[in-house]
Amino acid sequence: MTNSLNDIRHTKSMIFIGSNAAEAHPVSMQHILHAKEVNNAPIIVVDPRFTKLAAKASEFVRIRPGSDCAFIMGLINEIIQKGWEDKEFIRTRVAGFAEMAEIATHYTPEEVENITGIPAAQTRKVAKILAMNRPTSLTWCMGGTQHHIGSSITRAFCILQLVLGNMGKSGGGTNIFRGHDNVQGATDMCVLSHTLPGYYGLSDGAWKHWCRVWDVDYEFIKGRFKEKKWMNAKGFTLARWYEGVLQEEKIEQYTPIKAMIQWGCGSNSNSQYDRVVKAYNKLDLFVIVDPFPTMAAATCTTDNVYLLPCSSQYETSGSVTSTSRQIQWRFKVVDPVGNCKDDYQIMAELVKRLGFADEFYKNIKETPEDITREINKGTLTIGYNGQTPERIKKHMENWHTFDIDTLQARGGPCDGDYYGMPWPCWTEEHPGTPILYDISKPVAEGGLPFRNRFGLEKTYDMSGRTENLLAADGVANPGSEVKGGYAEFKDVVPGTNWKTDLSQKTLQEAIRRGMAPFGNARARCVVWTFPDQVPVHREPLHSPRPDLIATYPTYEDQPNHFRVFTRFKSEQDPELAKKFPFVLTTGRMVEHMGGGAETRSNKYLAELQPDMYAEINPVTANNMGIREGDMIWIESPEGGKVRVKAFVTERVDGKTIFMPYHFGGMLKGKSLIGEYPAGHAPYVVGEPANVCTNYGYDIITQIQATKDGLCKVSRA
């Protein structure tokens, strides 16, 4: 989120695309409905499904899954055609606008209607609502990202906000509601196969930086790897790690995966779940660390599986980063129950036995505070420096002193700080940055320009035009020494830049001069390193509209996509829609979370939602002779199938089937209750929807495409 949940209270209009905040983030609705009631802010919900959020909306736009990019580009085109774009903002702070606008002209409201199914008049109306009610808060969630063009779709969202000039403004921003409690923190720490903590990447410079932070020799880390080239190669991802075990598609690694540690991960959120199960049973070692037995424990029936009971987050302490980038501290409530150990203890035990504890814990004596300090020391890119454990705890103890509208403390020990010191919080005196890219405030008080990251100048391939990538003259935060664009800070401490200067003198110097350490640049509409430099629509791999495939084809196959061969073009078959006529999309329900291991083990939540179901439109159901509560089979083109209850509802349209993905404990009609450790099976079991979600991965991030697959339905 560029802004915060509370900041939505200041918005004048809201658009939610692929987000069902009422179910996935219920408490955020407090602020959303406040804006709706007090500011008369219209809520536009774009979704294939009439969600609980749509029930609160003033405009509901039913979109065909996977066509978000076309709709947004259509909005951008309509806004530009009508001259509603924020011309001053674009002139001073946006790069590549002309090139982007050129491509957007293709997406006329009529073409958008053809692709997305949204009436042209509604596209025009939404564009007008957004243009007339600024600032707009734009929210997306997994509905916007879990597509094979997910990265294009998210960029389109950002470009829309740039065109409207809503970035860096209170009430505006791109507000991605993150899923799990600490997705933001874990992402910032980059438990990701393509980067080191703080989004440093895997370059040699990144490794050297972190070796300095860890206080270990670079050669030591290098020695731990098979060869140096594996240090810089992106690893397998959670979406497709099982291919490394099964090797059914060609892998680009010297060895198959033989061991797996699954630490706090409900695996049934993985698409192609039946193949994941197959991989579990082929592993030589499978370690599950979780407070509850996940479905993985029930599906892996070999003797190579271990269950380690870790404590819940209430039995340990540590910081957690909310979707608003606020860092909060979890104080330990009680000691770990039974014979559980907390995460830190288990990690310490493991590292000790694997023989690198001395190096690993070199500067970590007090857990977890010393770890926080190490993070403060090394994570310079996103300004994780000022959030010391002491300050986070102080914020927790005085949370009542923070104003609900601004999230700034009024008086008290945290006076002037923003709640949770949203990153970047450059120094220990910095109050945190409540709104990213906000140039109305001095940097020392939480202001920020756009980051200078991609050079100072660019000549576009498309137009041949050369553009200065720094912000225009006169556009800078108040108190900035340079009144205009400037490059990132380098060589304040010779040989380092702001990202690698562990003394943090660079940061302090920048703040002192009223400038952002990362420079003051323009936001890009054109990303020249991506296959689609400007977001364009591409039909889902399994498209229900074969006629569009020729015009909007997908990408070429990728031979080494996170170490595994990934099909794109060869997977897109125009004939598929004949055999699999329904679009399958998945999502959340409010009563359960993730794979549901925790919530389905909670008797009250289990009572509220005891059955796995698939939503089906009454017309479709009647045509097929399916009645509410009947059992139906849903089959995917890959052969995955689930037996679920039919929930006949007008939430979905006649072409779409919706399933929640929280259920587990059954596989292809068979209950696995007996496979759980006795007495620890969840109260309710159901088919995991992800057995049916289709093949398809984002071209950049390899996020799985669970929202726009195909399926067929039959009575069970």
Binding site: M29, A55, E607
Partner: protein, 195 residues
């Protein structure tokens, strides 16, 4: 004397069931007994509305009128409570209630209905305040602690309000006033051709 009331703002209720679980978890209600429930109308259609309903602590409580053993009584602050030791589980209060509030956990013999259980406004029961017996039979006594019932306190969107009728009414009046007749007045788009 304050008059305790519940009010559920249906424009705000998002059917998250937070109130339901807050009540159950806080008062250790057995599975199957719903002191509070959320009901959704027109599910999946424009005009979908949800509302959270529990005992409304009526002024002229019909349950009190029909109880054959006078197990149900009303406190001076309007909270309607049941004495579980007096209740015989006949179920008449359930038939009299316009809100479906009375609940009957299974009793000891033949699984017959046990003593009636319903929302206590988190005010416990006639047993000694904060005693283990009160907690076991009725759950928390938050009113005696000066706290608001759990369901309203934990409402995600502050749709459910509980407390002094005057304050609740003021808050709601302010909201209705703020909402006015803007873009979010349901049906106005259609009725007045507003763009």
């Amino acid at each position: 004397m304050a008059r305790m009331k519940f009010l559920c703002d249906i424009e705000r209720c998002i059917d998250c069931s937070g109130c339901v679980v807050a009540c159950k978890e806080g008062n250790h209600i057995p599975v199957g007994v719903n002191r509070r429930r959320v009901i959704t109308l027109n599910q999946g259609k424009p005009g979908e509305k949800s509302i959270s309903v529990a005992c409304m602590h009526c002024a002229d409580a019909p349950c009190i009128a029909v109880c054959p053993v006078d197990a149900i009584y009303q406190r001076d602050d309007g909270i309607v409570l049941v004495s579980k030791k007096t209740c015989i589980g006949c179920g008449y209060c359930f038939m009299a209630c316009p809100f479906g509030a009375p609940q009957f956990p299974a009793g000891q013999t033949f699984g017959a209905r046990g003593a009636m259980d319903k929302c206590t406004f988190c005010a416990g029961g006639p047993e000694e305040t904060f005693s283990a017996e009160e907690r076991k039979l009725y759950g928390q006594n938050r009113i005696a602690e000066g706290k608001v019932p759990l369901c309203a306190a934990m409402c995600a969107t502050k749709a459910l309000m509980a407390g002094d009728a005057d304050v609740v009414a003021d808050v709601y009046r302010k909201r209705v006033f703020e909402r006015g007749t803007g873009a979010n007045a349901w049906g106005w788009d259609k009725a007045y051709k507003r763009e």
